[in-house]
């Protein structure tokens, strides 16, 4: 019943957001049908466009999962962007440095190092929150800047390819995640993302560890009384969150750019966070919301290219959508109406 409502709610929100979009498009003197047509063409038509949507989907999806895992233990990890950057720069460094390792091992090392560094970075905020009661929202936001500036320093200094642009040398061919929908940059990182999603769906619902994470997040008092080590579990959750965010960064390096580019993200982590927030604690909604955001962003870029309509129009639609999706009022309104009518 509840789940049905969530899906209905989403469809409502999307519909209303698009209606608002119609009004805006009319206001700037364009034809809404044409604009939306271009938007969807830009997101789906041909392997270049559809591949582009998939390419954007992967990091949004993974950072959404990362944010979700922290929220399971009641931590608000706004730092997924920074953790992703660190994961990216570490995997790039491992990727162009240890070139003598056998391919699969080398690739595994790229991911493991990224996870460790991203997780450790998230752990700083986690420890401050658990031990000293410092608000993790503040610390994760602030550490984002620190993380991004560190990567910026590295890519312009010790790790620079010295080619005049802010980038590291390219990673070894053996660690590259192949593109499967040329000419787009959609890469096999997609399957890693799906793997992570399935893995965590299973962990959360079917393992004692997942049970404990959910228990701590929903009632700490109860969990302590049962005898769980709540501090340790919360920190583990935060480490996993940072580690997963770092995987998104590693995929951007190994699958998309093949090197670390300074400032590559254009707010991927924040879109991931948004996808998780509008899913409202429903894990199954994460891929849906992430895909929706990815298609809107990619479609908008292509639309701008072909119609000259500003992509920022889509940003407005996205914003309206988020505003509406984060409110429960639509359904509440309907429920109240119904009640009155029954009487």
């Amino acid at each position: 019943m509840l789940h049905k409502n969530t899906y209905l709610n989403t469809i409502f929100s999307v519909a209303i957001a698009f209606l608002v979009g119609v009004v805006l498009i009319l206001a700037i003197g364009q034809n809404p049908i044409e604009v939306y047509g271009e938007l969807f063409k830009g997101a789906f038509k041909g392997s270049l466009n559809f591949g582009g949507t998939l390419e954007k989907f992967v990091p949004i999806f993974i950072t959404a999962i990362a944010f979700y895992i922290a929220s399971v233990v009641k931590l608000f990890n706004v730092g997924v962007e920074g953790q992703m950057y660190l994961g990216a720069v570490v995997s790039a460094w491992v990727g162009f440095s240890f070139v003598n390792l056998p391919g699969p091992l080398h690739m595994l090392l790229c991911f493991v190092c990224a996870i460790v560094v991203g997780g450790a970075w998230a752990l700083i905020s986690g420890i401050l929150a658990v031990r000293l009661n410092v608000n993790e929202i503040c610390t994760t936001i602030l550490l984002n800047y620190v993380a991004i500036l560190i990567t910026s320093y590295l890519v312009n200094g010790p790790l620079s390819a010295k080619t005049g642009i802010s980038t590291t040398p390219n990673v070894a061919d053996s660690v590259i995640l192949p593109w499967f929908m040329s000419p787009s940059r959609a890469n096999t990182g997609l399957f890693i993302a799906i793997g992570i999603f399935v893995l965590f769906a299973w962990i959360l619902s079917r393992t004692t560890f997942g049970y404990k994470l959910r228990s701590i997040g929903s009632n700490k008092e109860f969990s302590n009384y049962i005898g769980m080590k709540s501090d340790r579990l919360i920190l583990t959750g935060m480490f996993l969150s940072g580690g997963i965010a770092a995987i998104a960064g590693a995929i951007q390096v190994l699958g998309v750019h093949h090197a670390f580019l300074n400032g590559f993200s254009s707010e991927i982590g924040f879109y991931g966070m948004l996808a998780a927030l509008i899913s409202k604690g429903n894990f199954k909604m994460l891929p849906v919301m992430s895909f929706l955001l990815a298609l809107l962003r990619n479609g908008a870029l292509n639309m701008q290219r072909f119609t000259g309509i500003e992509a920022s129009l889509v940003d407005i639609i996205i914003t309206v959508f988020i505003l509406i999706a984060s409110m429960d009022w639509i359904l509440v309104l309907f429920r109240e109406r119904k009640k009155v009518r029954v009487q």
Binding site: T207, T208, Y211, K212, S218, N219, F222, Y225, G227, Q343
Partner: protein
């Protein structure tokens, strides 16, 4: 007979649940009328309809001779209704005075006229003998005082009919007496009072008439003098209830837990518990009596590892266990029913099944290599729901949907099924209906019969007397005395609880 209120054939449903089914209720001017029934019998719902909070589906309500159908709470206040809910609606940061006038402030030139408000409230305070300090903030006053503030609030708003929803559930015995004194004063001035409760002795003490509800249905209305407590219990539960179950004989063995010179701090003060020592023996029930807030909770939490022991030692089966983790303490064989089942005893976000397996999680057959075996967990919880008579019998339901009594059965089921030798039960029957109380008392006696030890903390003296083999009284964080049950007199225990008398051992 002229009634102030006459409710007839009231029906109301929440979804599929028929909460009130042909409910009836009448109220005379200046009477105290008790409305009793088990949890979920529809008492509160019926009164919320009267108060304009819920809308009935069908039925008739006559108030002072006038017919009403639907009205809102504002109208109810105008008609002279006032309700004191179980959860108080007070603003912690405001003073008592500000809380009372909130929403109904007397104004002079657009400014609140505090002097006038104070004068008016002082009138009620004198008239009915309230003990309230108007200038304290809510967060600085006791629960009993907060409740008096709620009653004052209804009077200030002009209430002539006051509905109290289980008002004594949160009160100490002294505060209860104080409340009853106020209620009698109110009654003598012509105020009508509805007293919702399931504590039968209190009902017999205070009421003029009593209306009984069961499963949403009206059973009967009787005069207090024409009925006895066992008859009331029978009508309420629908069968004979024997609360005064026979106490099984004690066969005490060796000491399983020894608390030695323990000091524990509470949330607010250091060394709330001072130099407490006692032993718990195999096969006995040791009852800890005391007015709420005299350190019983802190003591139990310290034993369980949930609160730091400042000084002293706690030996469980000979091993020093003070300041160990909860898990380690549980693993030495301690099970624990916490006094607060809503936040600590149960995870309301989880299903009955998930709550039942919480302390067995890591063990076969519930999990192997950290992977849950859902089928075994489901089978196990189905069995337990059956064995402990949890209603409804569906372990996949969310625990938050259960009534107080059934929720407490889930806590008991989980803890009793654990491997333990020491069973700690804090306020095991608080907020639980009489049928479930009977069950819970049976369970506790069975534990004792198996040769295990029980530490029972209760603010209900009757419960302490019904179950305990030895009674320990706590007063202001110290042991006021330990008495064997057969030597204990209720008056003497009552005296010890309030700080009178010298300690005996």
């Amino acid at each position: 007979m002229d009634y102030v209120v006459e409710m007839k054939e009231i029906n109301m449903s929440f979804g599929n649940v028929h909460a009130v089914n042909d409910g009836e209720f009448t109220l005379e001017r200046g009477e105290i009328h008790s409305l009793i029934g088990e949890n979920g019998a529809g008492k509160s719902t019926l009164m919320k309809i009267l108060n304009g909070i819920h809308r009935m589906d069908s039925g008739s309500i006559v108030i002072n001779g006038e017919h009403f159908r639907h009205y809102n709470t504002k109208k109810a206040i105008q008609m002279g209704f006032g309700m004191v809910h179980q959860e108080f609606a007070l603003v912690d940061e405001l003073t008592v005075l500000e809380n009372i006038i909130l929403g109904f402030e007397p104004a002079k030139h657009g400014v609140i006229d505090f002097a006038k408000a104070r004068e008016q409230i002082n009138f009620y305070i004198r008239e009915y003998g309230f003990d309230v300090n108007l200038d304290k903030r809510i967060l600085d006053i006791s629960v009993g005082e907060a409740q008096r503030v709620e009653i004052l609030k209804t009077l200030y708003r002009g209430a002539e009919i006051i509905i109290l929803d289980e008002p004594t559930a949160v009160l100490t015995p002294q505060e209860t007496l104080n409340l009853f004194e106020i209620l009698r004063q109110l009654k003598s001035k012509g105020v009508s009072i509805v007293f919702i409760s399931h504590k039968l002795n209190e009902v017999m003490e205070i009421s003029d008439r009593i209306t009984i509800m069961r499963d949403g249905k009206y059973i009967t209305t009787v005069k207090k003098d024409e009925i006895t407590i066992p008859e009331l219990a029978n009508k309420m539960v629908g069968r004979d209830v024997t609360l005064a179950c026979e106490k099984p004989p004690v066969h005490t063995g060796e000491c399983v837990m020894s608390v030695q010179n323990v000091y524990v701090s509470s949330k607010r003060e250091l060394s709330k518990i001072k130099n407490v020592s006692f032993d718990l023996f195999q096969g006995e029930i040791l009852g800890i009596a005391g007015v709420d807030g005299n350190g019983q909770n802190e003591l139990v939490e310290a034993i369980m590892g949930l609160r730091e022991v400042e000084q002293g030692s706690i030996l469980i089966k000979g091993q020093p266990m003070q300041n160990q983790s909860v898990l380690d303490i549980r693993n030495t064989g301690v099970a624990y029913i916490p006094d607060d089942r809503n936040t600590r005893g149960l995870n309301k976000k989880f299903s009955i099944m998930e709550n039942l397996i919480a302390n067995h999680l890591g063990k076969i057959p519930f999990s192997k290599y950290g992977i849950l075996n859902k089928k075994n967990a489901d089978d196990y919880s189905k069995d337990l729901v059956e064995k402990y008579d949890v209603r409804p019998r569906d372990p996949s339901l969310n625990v938050g949907n259960l009534s107080g009594g059934n929720a407490q059965k889930v806590v008991f089921a989980r803890e009793i099924e654990a491997d333990f030798d020491i069973f700690i039960a804090a306020q095991p029957t608080r907020g639980v209906d009489i049928g479930s109380i009977e069950n819970i008392h049976k369970l506790i006696n069975e534990i004792k019969l198996q040769g295990k030890s029980v530490l029972l903390v209760s603010a209900e003296l009757e419960e302490i007397f019904a179950l305990s083999d030895r009674i320990m009284v706590m007063y202001e964080g110290e042991i006021a005395g330990i008495v064997r049950a057969e030597d204990a007199e209720i008056n003497r225990i009552g005296l010890l609880m309030t700080g009178g008398g010298t300690s005996a051992s």
